[in-house]
Symmetry: D2
Subunit: 362 residues, 4 copies
């Protein structure tokens, strides 16, 4: 491979200009960037304070009529993803406010959503005619392609968390949205039909088709979820997540939605979990209590109502303060697993605890 | 193919003698028997009266010490299967008695079992160290290959139904049995561990491996089962089975065991279902109430505690009397489905009701 | 439970008479038989000589017109299963003769079949209009529920092996048979359509629905099968089966039929495999060469054309004579696996070889 | 909700400034963009001329030593994705040149790749020790996580197409890359081991574990692929794609890689297919012949060696010129399907043909 007489700086310059003009790129110039040894996420660990979120949320209620907004939603935008409007590369997370008497009109879309109720009681989401009553701590699904509208029949403002797969559905150019002619869906005689069909572990209607891709149980009520957490606490816990339950589709045992997994997690008083990391990304909401998480060596103190993001492949561990804490979270693991891209690792040193090199100030 | 000079009666006789001697058979002589147009089951629809069963069951307690019997079990033997000791070609069904203070020692086997509690309260089955307390109406699993022992710590006799896949496991020559050196398994600190892990619909421990072949939920308590039946009754029912729930594996949504499906079924007051038939076979136990089933045109009147068998491809329909009735049943559908042999058909005439041509007298 | 005054011999006798009269059985009297520690198959290892089979097969052609027989089939009846007409508890194996110009009329049934051509060339099986030409060594499928008729357009008698799941389908009372009004199906313009669609590894029509339960490739031609065996021999072999290929469904990679698995197996010159056993049962046909198998310590010498049975849980090992041998075999593994009943074990002693304690004399 | 006195322009301005400062976004201001009624892909239909590609490719060989480049690869960059370095949102497509005597050193990564050979013969890719010889028309896999190195032992330059899932793996922050200490992997005694194991349709080694996620067949040789195309042409074709085969994993019947599907497609002389669209995106390479595709109403004339992109949800139809044409293509359908995001639609009007409103000039 003796001499390469042609490789003068001018020749190279001309060559690179030509390949760019022809919509090509030389891999060797970009491979360090495209093919790093380990993931180098743009997204940052970040925490949003409930105090701020709640104030701005209520303020949006004063400023923006529902007729204009359709959904009065403030999305959490990761500082690393400003252009993308997303909490992580795959997840949209937001707080939604609906005031007494308001209605968010019926639509449906190829993106799938979960709602976790933070404040208030007595609103509803109607999913394909099934009216789901929403109270604090409930987790309500609006699966892809199903008509849904929301309304607040109580006398108080209602705030919930939205979790959607919208960023990945957009990346994949697969967003379809339809608006209904009917603002408020007609509801079935008996509300909570999905719960009446599916709300006992290990029992399903004998004539149900097996294995629907999205969960046919639409409303996971808090009272039952909390009881399940307390029961599990009596017998088992994970060193990395303490007492953690995954919400699942009762007809498959798999994630509630093909693109989203949801967890509820009790960190018992004084527990400090071991660190680990996954290729999945997550958004956490502090439902009860206070404590902190250490993410890639930085300490994130949190209290009731706060939200925080754990990026892919970021070491993370959780600790409650004096009392217990309860965390709700959304994960994109169902996107990664079928593609063979899910990977996890435990932090091996120092008993599983990272050295803390800083504190997040927000 | 003009003449066949060789086909004299003598030649034929000699030929058939020779093929038999050589362990062969001419299909054309047996094909009518081996390949009927439709299933021609040996097993018969049959009903066992609780009055008789209970009396004989208690009598066996007087006659047979548990030390001799190990399990004091009376199997329901289908009149068509005397040589096979089975309720249907695939299912073993029985009543088991355990007296106060008795213990049925630990063993494990490749056949899988379910227990449905008929009478008494406060006995237990320990499955791989998990002590399951058994009360009337509970359904307890002892999956294939798992150590299990039973004991009665109450002051009353305890009677339950056993349902096993033993006949098909024997037909397949796959029975393995092991006896433990330890008569009574050591139990975990907290009893009912499987319930504490899995007894909330749509919530499973976040670290559980997905999709165990046998259900990791071992005890389906009656109070919850009944509540689920009543909830389902508010919203839905099947024309063939009225308000029917299948017990399922919460990690798959599939049958509780790879070989057995279990149902609980409320026939509401005055309901008379439409007839249908399947290639699966079933054993029913009348948990509450009275009524009748019409099986292949014959009426089987039943009341609390009775057992009856529905053969494969037999038309059947159920009716409650004035009050409601609750039926528990075991089915071999999980055996048929993966083999592509499950088939079902609705009775199309006379509004779905068979003409009744006789009454079973027992 | 001090004394049991009632347990006199008379009382016991009366009790057992009464339970029998009531169609019950005391498990403790039959459990040794129903629940052995290990499988105790009725079926026996057995070998049928080709010389005898062929002679009787041709003799049946002289004696029995096809119009009478419909299928001129001699079934191999295991000496342990005389009442059942089967080679193993799950498998029917047979030789079928079709003479020049004969036709076996179209029918379809819920039992599934494979054909492996032993002698002759130029017959056909038409499966749902697709005419499959049959030559020595070909393996042709007639899946459950598909219309099929056979014909011999050559000038020579044609003999093939039939393998069916009939015994298990009968045990499960799921046999359905239909006879066509049309004796010979109309065939598509191009014969061998399934091969033209599916006969290249790793390439399927882009519009095919994925994962049909029975293989859509209907004819596995010998020339290709043999070439594949020789290619595999260059790189790999199993200590238990030497160079063995499983015929699979190209749309799933699973067995060719939901109930039957088929293998072709080259035992290279001088190879003597290690013994192992499985809960599955098998019927082997010696396609080429000679050698022997040791089954549960007895030596079965075989040569071209012979058939032999390996019962469930029977130790078995194979050896070729001076030259190579090729074995075709049918197995019921697909029945056992989904039920969780498949189990296998390697023979650990003496380098994997059983002591030989006898020779099968037939 | 009568008056909203607070909603002055100043108040609104202040509010929006505050939410931005707090890393939030008001959905109602971005929902039109985030949630369009139908996909609005950034990527454009585009075509790269082989004449240009080949010239620049060979020029890169003169300018860039392999020691510097490691892989001498020119990526096709969609004009709509300049910042992303990708052919579609999910797919990387490129041409790779390797000169006689050169070696691309061993590495492995979580992104998966296919290679389709365009020019030359006698190069190799060694995948986990299995040396795959590469000739024109061959399709070679380097699945995720498997070590691979390339080399050219011929006397001619070798050019192939690379297809990778890199853009989606990067979007998901799941790129891991490892470089080997060993530049050239040690190879097994027999090259082409994967072909020797798997290159006969419907036959797999009997001891292979079923259902590997990536195909264990690594080299799909052109001679066999072409023969399969011609055989399929005798019996079937699709109105939308004419004679199209999907390369599949022989152990599952599914796509060759968990993230990529590959097709080979014969457009017979004079055939003009009907238009349809999918949510998947594709890169096509013209292997033989010439013709054109109409994509979203614009005509793209193509000839041997050209590459073109079909964006998600773009109507497209293909036509050969006088002679036949053969297209190879890569698709991201396996990414979309498990997420429930795959959707397709046939063009209903004008006999399935779009009106042509322009011609691509490049």
């Amino acid at each position: 491979m003796a001499s390469r007489p042609a490789a003068t700086p001018e020749a190279e310059q001309q060559f690179y200009a030509e390949i760019e003009r022809n919509h090509l790129a030389a891999l060797w110039n970009v491979s360090a960037r495209l093919m790093p040894r380990e993931p180098t996420p743009r997204i940052q660990p970040y925490l949003w304070r409930w105090k701020t979120l709640r104030t701005l949320c209520l303020r949006s209620g004063e400023l923006t009529p529902i007729e204009k907004a359709e959904r009065r939603v403030l999305g959490l935008i990761n500082p690393g993803l400003k252009d993308k409007y997303a909490a992580t590369e795959t997840l949209w997370a937001a707080v939604q406010l609906i005031l007494p008497g308001e209605n968010a009109p019926a639509h449906r879309h190829s993106a799938a959503a979960i709602r976790f109720i933070i404040e208030g009681s007595g609103a509803y989401t109607t999913v394909e005619g099934d009216k789901c009553i929403m109270d604090r701590g409930d987790m309500v699904l609006t699966p892809a392609g199903q008509w849904h509208d929301h309304g607040n029949e109580s006398r108080e403002p209602m705030i919930w968390m939205d979790g959607l797969d919208l960023p990945i559905v957009r990346d994949l150019d697969a967003v379809f949205v339809e608006h209904s002619d009917v603002k408020v869906q007609k509801v079935s005689k008996v509300s909570g039909g999905s719960e009446r069909r599916f709300d006992q572990a290990g029992l399903v209607p004998a004539w149900e088709p097996p294995a629907a891709p999205a969960s046919p149980l639409l409303n996971y009520k808090w009272a039952k979820t909390e009881a399940a957490l307390r029961r599990l606490a009596q017998v088992d816990a994970s060193p990395f997540d303490d007492v953690a339950l995954e919400y699942v589709n009762p007809t498959t045992g798999g994630p509630v939605l093909p693109t989203l997994a949801c967890w509820i997690q009790l960190v018992r008083p004084g527990v400090h979990t071991r660190a680990h990391r996954q290729t999945s990304s997550s958004v956490y909401h502090v439902f009860e209590g206070c404590g902190y998480s250490v993410i890639n060596g930085r300490r994130f103190n949190w209290e009731r109502g706060d939200f925080f993001v754990v990026p892919p492949w970021a070491w993370h561990e959780h600790a409650s303060a004096v009392g217990e804490a309860i965390l709700f979270s959304v994960h994109d693991t169902p996107v990664l697993r079928p593609l063979g891209l899910y990977r996890e690792e435990a932090y091996g040193e120092a008993g599983g605890h990272q050295p803390v090199t800083g504190v997040f100030e927000g």
